[in-house]
């Protein structure tokens, strides 16, 4: 009993190895389809030798159907034996999905293999009907080839990282082809990509840098306007951070990995993640998408200026432009930072603690800027306090039950002037700055005068009441005396 127990596992192993060899051999030799077609030296059979499916022992009939055991063409390629010939359109992908959508079956070959690619493809943008209207735009074979299918880790595979760009470009670089699907989509993505850091490394054979599928996905590609897309505006930071925030992954590259963390805290990140504001910039709005690269020192103001146009324009005309360029200071970034751009507070300007101007300007160094910064700050401060005074007075008047709707209208102008100071400050020009603040001073003066008048009106009502009460009370007293008088007369 004991001996038998020991023997059996060893025996089983031998048997199974033998069977495997036998089966492999018999498939190779007994696959009559392949035998015949190899003799014909046709292309499919030539390619199939290198195919991953051939290597695991699948036969032609696995995809094309028919009876691979028979060498009689009539019998082997008979419809009654399930022969489907050359599948067309969706039949192609359906043939692949017979196995690739079957998780149980696929696990036999590789327990990590993914399934369900066909389902993903069907819902993706490529799963929509092609121009002929009879099948999906893409079939599995469009990217993976038909008879010479390699593993994705095989550098000969068209979907191997360094090959992906060329594969996608087959269609996406063909203007006349893309014209029939999306005429407004550009076809220069590959050209741009090759200028990017990603593209250059990829061309050098680096498989870790991003290629098309890294950002767009593989089977589940959606239009960038689709909220499910990995490159939908609000999803981009997460997509980029999958690699760029991964310290292990990025260890071969000499760049920091905290951009996402910083960005999340920035005014832009808050706008994107908390307010779902689609107009706020995500990674690609500054770095570019296909030609992703950090903006150069002198071009920062142009990049930021694509949204903050006025600030950039004012800056470019300001004396700082030349000074920054000479000293190689990155333009906007010097004061505002890059990924962690916080809301610009008034305290950034001026000569007190926390003011950025102090970095270069001091009472004894670059004095002119020091003086202007001081003036600008004091103007901003007084505008702010006037705003508060006006608001307080209006609040008081409102509390007293006065109608202040119209004065509140004036508050808009103060508000606007205060906002405009934030912009005009980038001119770093005292006269231009004062033009804006004067507008605010004038508006606040008017608002304060009117609010005061409204409060005066409140007291006028009280005094008016006193006068009216006095007059009426006087009459009351007289009537009272009169009544007493006539009644006295009567009783007398």
């Amino acid at each position: 009993m004991g001996i038998k127990m020991k023997l059996i596992p060893g025996f089983k192993l031998i048997i199974s190895v033998l069977t495997l060899i036998l089966v492999q051999y018999s498939y190779a030799s007994e696959d009559q389809c392949f035998n015949c077609h190899r003799d014909l030296e046709d292309n499919p059979s030539k390619l199939f030798v290198e195919d991953v499916h051939y290597k695991v022992g699948l036969s032609c009939s696995s995809c094309h159907g028919g009876n691979s055991n028979s060498d009689d063409m009539e019998l082997a390629m008979n419809k009654s034996a399930g022969f489907i010939g050359v599948p067309s359109l969706n039949k192609i992908s359906e043939a692949c999905s017979k196995c690739h959508s079957d998780a149980v079956f696929m696990k036999k070959y590789n327990k990590n293999i993914l399934t369900g690619q066909f389902e993903k493809l069907k819902t993706s943008v490529h799963g929509k009907l092609s121009v002929n209207g009879r099948g999906m735009m893409l079939q599995c074979t469009t990217c993976h080839n038909a008879h010479g299918i390699k593993k994705v880790t095989d550098s000969r595979s068209p979907v191997y990282p360094t090959n992906v760009p060329a594969t996608c470009n087959k269609c996406h670089g063909d203007a006349s082809f893309m014209q029939s699907y999306n005429p407004s989509l550009s076809v220069d993505q590959l050209t741009k990509y090759r200028t990017s850091v990603h593209g250059i490394l990829n061309a050098k054979g680096n498989t870790k840098t991003a290629e098309c599928a890294s950002c767009h996905g593989s089977h589940d590609i959606f239009s960038a306007k689709d909220v499910r897309s990995k490159v939908y505006k609000l999803n981009i930071p997460n997509t980029c951070s999958q690699c760029h925030s991964n310290k292990d992954y990025m260890k071969d590259f000499p760049i920091p990995t905290d951009q996402f963390e910083k960005y999340q805290k920035s005014v832009h990140g808050v706008a994107v993640f908390e307010k779902q504001d689609l107009s706020a910039p995500v990674c690609n709005d500054c770095h570019g998408n296909h030609a992703a690269t950090p903006p150069g020192i002198e071009s920062i103001s142009k990049v930021c200026g694509s949204c903050h146009a006025l600030n950039a324009e004012l800056f470019s005309a300001s004396p700082h432009k030349k000074a920054f360029d000479e000293k190689k200071y990155p333009e906007c970034e010097t004061c505002h930072g890059n990924h962690e751009i916080l809301i610009a507070k008034d305290k950034l300007i001026g000569v007190e603690e926390g003011a950025i101007c102090l970095k270069c300007h001091a009472e004894d160094k670059n004095q002119k800027g020091y003086r202007v910064a001081k003036i600008m700050r004091s103007q901003i401060d007084s505008l702010m306090s006037l705003d508060i005074v006006a608001k307080n007075l209006i609040f008081q008047a409102e509390q007293k039950g006065m109608d202040v709707e119209e004065i509140k209208f004036k508050l808009r102008e103060i508000h606007q002037a205060r906002l405009e100071t934030r912009t005009i400050v980038h001119s770093f020009n005292e006269a231009k700055f004062k033009e804006v603040t004067n507008k605010g001073f004038k508006a606040s003066e008017m608002a304060i005068t009117e609010a005061k008048a409204s409060i005066d009106e409140f007291y006028f009502r009280r005094y008016g009441l006193v006068v009216a009460l006095a007059l009426i009370t006087f009459l009351i007293v007289i009537i009272f005396l009169y009544i007493r008088k006539i009644e006295k007369t009567k009783s007398v």
Partner: protein
């Protein structure tokens, strides 16, 4: 005054004086009540309440290619007389941070000075930070007058 001082026809005088005071009191009362009423009836500076529609002025007030900002309730509205001789009225409050927008004749856009937000003449946000288009108002021309009203 003398009458009070004299003692002989005291009663009659006092009565007359009381009557005098009574008429004085009545007059005072009349003033105290009539004054507010008369003031109330005096037509106010702004002739009547105008909120759902506002008379923006005469047709000739805004020349072709010019614009004007009017008050609509407590909000500003910009009226533009376009080159093709049409009138458009849009809310003049920038949808970004509530600044008041203006018409830029050379670029044929509506422009916000605060952050360079741009809108086309239909109020659609076309560039810069504005997240939404400007609200539209209706312009009707009646007897050579421009009347701006809320879109139904």
């Amino acid at each position: 005054m003398d009458q009070i001082g004299s003692n002989k026809p005291e009663k009659k005088d006092r009565r007359d004086f009381l009557k005098f005071l009574l008429s004085l009191g009545l007059t005072g009362f009349g003033v105290a009540t009539i004054y507010p009423v008369i003031s109330f009836l005096k037509p106010p500076k702004q002739a009547e309440v105008e909120v759902n529609s506002v008379v923006a002025g005469k047709l000739d007030d805004i020349k072709t290619g010019e614009s004007k900002i009017i008050r609509f309730g407590n909000k500003p509205v910009i009226i533009i007389h376009t080159e093709d001789d049409k009138f458009r009225a849009l809310s003049a409050t920038c949808t970004h941070l509530d600044c008041t927008v203006q018409y830029k004749k050379d670029e044929k856009i509506i422009w916000c000075a605060c952050h360079n937000g741009k809108y086309d003449l239909y109020g659609k946000n076309i560039s810069g930070p504005p997240p939404r288009p400007l609200d539209k108002f209706k312009v009707v021309i009646k007897n050579d007058e421009l009347i701006v009203s809320k879109e139904a």
